[in-house]
């Protein structure tokens, strides 16, 4: 089997501007949604109590809300989760509330409702100080990833590659966040992990293409820079699609079988993988071109490296 039967190098660079405009528009849209709608942060970030209870028969949510309201939890969000028999209750942290005891009190009032008794499946309580720390830790992790990758690529390749790769892939991160803002999907810690993992993974995509660019510059003289880029992309496109396809198969499997906890995690990965292909192929390469990469600089870098090796 061979999916990709490409006769000539595809002139990707001819349309470089179009690709970048498309990606800029998507990026701006993502920023717009992030700014207007904001992320729907999970309990881990906001602090509060989250409870999951399971009934043998579908309970009336209205009754649960009413009972909790009487107990003083008017701001409780009660909703179905997964099936009509599973109920999810969210309670924000409030000043002066005895936070440690909320889960027991809620459970007691749920048990007091007539009808079927619930089985407690999961409780998560997060104090206000923890949430703040998580947000700042997340930001630090992102900075460390960006710094580390730029440094590594700058040493292994050249600063132009490093800069374009990180711009292209950061814009993936923003787009993932944009989707989560637009659809108000829950942004939890696993989603954050997925986002950062995707960042590492898509940079890896750019690396494969840059590797080819370097090789083509060395081997084939007489090609212009856009032609070199076209050639590099064309000769790796088959690998790009197959690799991402395989990874996506795995992610799809998680999306289908992984249940509620892994759902948003794999959703973030799916978006990341799709936009990762686009951005590392069609955004990073033109950026490298516009930043003025050329054979000469490249050979210089190569020479220096050889000296170090020798």
């Amino acid at each position: 089997m061979e999916f990709f039967r490409i006769r000539k190098d595809i002139p990707f660079m001819k349309h470089a501007l179009v690709f970048n405009v498309i990606s800029l528009v998507t990026f701006l849209l993502a920023v717009f949604f992030l700014a207007t709608k904001g992320l729907h942060f999970s309990v881990e970030f906001t602090g509060g109590t989250l409870m999951e209870a399971s009934y043998t028969e579908a309970p009336q949510l209205e009754k649960i809300r009413e009972t909790l309201g009487k107990e003083g939890y008017q701001d409780a969000q009660v909703q179905n989760f997964g099936s009509a028999r599973d109920v999810l209750i969210r309670l924000p942290n409030r000043e002066g509330m005895e936070t440690g005891k909320v889960s027991e009190k809620v459970m007691a009032s749920l048990n007091a409702i007539e009808g079927h008794k619930p089985e407690m499946r999961r409780v998560e309580f997060v104090g206000p100080q923890v949430g703040k720390e998580l947000a700042s830790d997340g930001a630090m992790a992102l900075l460390l990833v960006i710094g580390g990758i730029v440094l590594y690529l700058a040493i292994r390749f050249e600063w132009r590659f490093a800069v374009s790769a990180i711009i292209a892939n950061l814009h993936d991160v923003i787009i993932i966040l944009g989707f989560f803002a637009l659809f108000q999907w829950e942004f939890s810690l696993p989603v954050l992990a997925a986002t950062l993992a995707v960042l590492g993974y898509s940079v890896n995509e750019s690396v494969v293409i840059f590797d080819r660019v370097r090789e083509t510059f060395k081997k084939k003289r007489g090609l212009s820079t856009p032609e070199v880029l076209d050639h590099a992309i064309t000769s790796t496109i088959s690998r790009t699609i197959i690799t991402h396809g395989s990874t996506q198969i795995m992610v799809l499997s998680m999306l289908l079988f992984g249940g509620e906890t892994l759902y948003y995690f794999s959703l973030a990965l799916t978006i990341g993988i799709c936009f990762g292909i686009y951005s590392s192929v069609l955004v990073a390469s033109p950026l490298v071109m516009w930043l003025g990469v050329s054979r000469e600089q490249f050979m210089q870098v190569k020479k220096e490296k050889q000296e170090i090796v020798v």
Binding site: D137, V145, L189, N204, V207, R239, S246, I249, M250, S253
Partner: protein
């Protein structure tokens, strides 16, 4: 040309064998077990004696066990099924805790790996499952360090008052103001003398002289060193106290760990009664010092049931009965520290106690009046007291520094010091994170994680075999070996596997296939450009190496960042992700190349590679 030297093949073989052995325990599953551990802080578990006792009690009850095991803190017995396990638990409970109201041992139901003895002996254990997979309660407790410092400052205030009075320095009041102790004086001379006296007595305090209207004052703050010591001490003591209390819950494998500077993680697998757990975590225990009633005949009378009025009967450590007066001389609040050490003259092991000023005064009076009598130090917990130690008073003890010595090993001294400190929490704690996972949800999470990995793997395997034929099969074997090594590594390190961790396994497999695709595409390309099959294999692997290294390093950077800054679920994900990247490098480069070498390496006249159809553009 495509042959590995023998040592490389051997290396691959050995690594794979190692992976297989350490993955094995995960396939055996778990069997029901009963675990016995010490239920009292004063009781040390003696493994060999406990095993003997356990064997006897099971034999008398006519219950068969599938093996007994002991580690430092517990003894466990395996059973065939849960029915036997429950029966055994009842029997053991009866044999070890004859008095059900005052249990000395914790007898808990547990699960043990069913893997054979030789695997356990080489430390091959199944993966350690996180709470989200096995169910249980997780608490994150914040220790109030300010509270610990304040408590110390309050004690210091009293100490300074006594000190200045003893040294005849007149002051106009000592009070704690926030995180400072302020001492006021009427005149400069007193201030100067006060300064000198305090400096001479303690180096934990930093003093600043000042003037407040007509008054002269000294502001004393705890030095950073002293604050650090207090905080370290506070968290250690709180952890010890929590250990003692959690024993009561009968949890088989509780985790109590320090996290960061001022936090404690408590994980109680299998516990569903959150309310009780919280109650126990928050309870306080107290230390009491009382006098021993040594009236001749009183003890004998008490043993027969006629306890004299105003006294209580307790058992000393080691089992001897002791009659203790009900009147409390001192409580643990007066005790500021207890450290193991040695007697300055006899070089015997000893425990050094430090009392605060008020405590020291009372202690001085009591010891003066009761020379050659015994006093008992009791730990009162759960409304029940226990004599930690009952030394004889040799002489008047002043100054608040008390030494308990005599017929103690240094280990016993350490234990006693720990116990004396363990009475109460050094600083208040607050639950800042709580996670409870029901057991059914845990089991569901395991099966969900397992199925997503399984089906994803199968789908990738089918596709790779169809698309790259034999080379695809090699890739799939390499991927399987990656999974094997990853699981073996996780089992060996006993890293906690959580649901995000399982997701990381799946994701790592999905990403690891990239290296194989890169290699296979390269080989096809070399063939397309007219290389001979052997040259194509060699060039394919060599050229792909750089790219694989680069791309894995960038992914690893992201993984490490998550590891450094992540906590909870993110950390579980990051650990597996990073390990997976390392094992995938090994399997994609060495294992798959080794296999290809074995298949094709020896053939001199190789015409064709089974790597699927190679399409060549007509123009070329």
């Amino acid at each position: 040309m495509n042959r590995y030297p023998l040592w490389k093949n051997l290396l691959i073989g050995i690594v794979m064998l190692w992976g297989l052995i350490y993955t094995l325990p995960n396939f055996y599953g778990e069997v029901p077990a009963v675990q016995i551990s010490s239920g009292k802080a004063t009781l040390k578990l003696d493994a060999s004696a406990t095993i003997k006792r356990l064997e006897e009690s099971l034999a008398t009850a006519g219950i068969q066990h599938d093996g007994l095991f002991a580690d430092l803190t517990s003894v466990r017995a395996r059973f065939r099924d849960t029915d036997t396990q429950l029966k055994a638990k009842d029997a053991v409970e009866k044999a070890f805790n004859p008095d059900a109201t005052d249990p000395s041992y914790v007898v808990a139901l547990n699960l043990l790996s069913a893997s054979p003895q030789w695997l356990t002996a080489i430390h091959a254990l199944p993966m350690y499952l996180g709470l989200d997979l096995r169910g249980g309660v997780h608490f994150l407790l914040q220790v109030d360090m300010k509270g610990a410092v304040t408590k110390r400052l309050d004690a210091t205030t009293g100490d300074l008052r006594t000190l200045l009075r003893d040294k005849n320095v007149r002051h106009a009041g000592i009070a704690r103001e926030g995180q400072n102790v302020v001492i006021r004086f009427r005149d400069v001379e007193s201030q100067t003398r006060g300064h000198a006296v305090i400096t001479a007595s303690s180096n934990d305090l930093q003093l600043v002289d000042g003037q407040d209207g007509a008054d002269f004052k000294i502001t004393a703050t705890l030095s950073p060193m002293a604050q650090k010591t207090i905080q370290e001490f506070a968290i250690k003591q709180n952890i010890t106290t929590l250990h003692n209390r959690i024993n009561e819950l009968g949890v088989a494998e509780p985790v109590i760990q320090q996290q960061g500077l001022d936090r404690i993680v408590v994980q109680l697998p299998g516990v569903q009664d959150v309310a009780k757990a919280k109650d126990i975590l928050g309870r306080t225990a107290t230390l009491e010092i009382r006098l021993v009633d040594e009236t001749p005949g009183a003890l004998e009378a008490a043993m027969t049931g006629a306890i004299p009025a105003g006294t209580e009967l307790y058992n000393e450590r080691g089992g001897r009965p002791l009659l203790v007066k009900k009147q409390v001389v001192l409580t643990g609040e007066r005790l500021t520290d207890a450290q193991p050490g040695f007697d300055g003259q006899t070089h015997e092991a000893a425990v050094h106690l430090t009392l605060d000023a008020a405590g020291a005064r009372i202690f001085k009076d009591i010891t003066r009046e009761n020379i050659n009598k015994r006093m008992a130090i009791l730990l009162i917990e759960k409304g029940k007291g226990e004599v930690v130690t009952a030394p004889v008073i040799r002489g008047e003890i002043g100054g608040g520094r008390v030494q308990i010595s005599g017929r103690m090993s240094s280990e016993e001294a350490t234990d006693t010091a720990l116990l004396l400190r363990a009475g109460s929490l050094a600083a208040p704690m607050e639950i800042i994170e709580e996670r409870t996972i029901g057991p059914s949800l845990g089991a569901e999470n395991i099966s969900k994680g397992f199925h997503s990995t399984l089906w994803g793997f199968v789908a990738i395997a089918v596709f790779m075999c169809l698309y790259y034929m034999l080379f695809g099969m090699v890739s799939v074997i390499a991927l399987a070996s990656n999974l094997l090594l990853l699981v073996a590594l996780l089992s060996l390190l006993q890293a906690t596997l959580t649901l995000p961790g399982i997701a990381a396994i799946a994701l790592t497999l999905g990403m690891a296939i990239d290296a194989n695709v890169l290699i296979n595409e390269r080989i096809r390309e070399e063939l397309r450009n007219g290389s001979s099959p052997q040259a194509a294999i060699s060039a394919g692997y060599d050229r792909a190496f750089d790219t694989i290294l680069d791309s894995n390093v960038t992914t690893l950077i992201a993984g490490v960042a998550l590891l450094v800054f992540g906590s909870g679920p993110v950390r579980g994900f990051a650990v597996v992700h990073c390990l997976g990247i390392l094992t995938s490098m090994f399997s994609a480069l060495l294992v798959s190349r080794g296999l290809v070498n074995l298949i094709y390496g020896k053939r001199r006249k190789l015409e064709k590679l089974a790597i699927g159809q190679i399409w060549k553009a007509e123009a070329n």
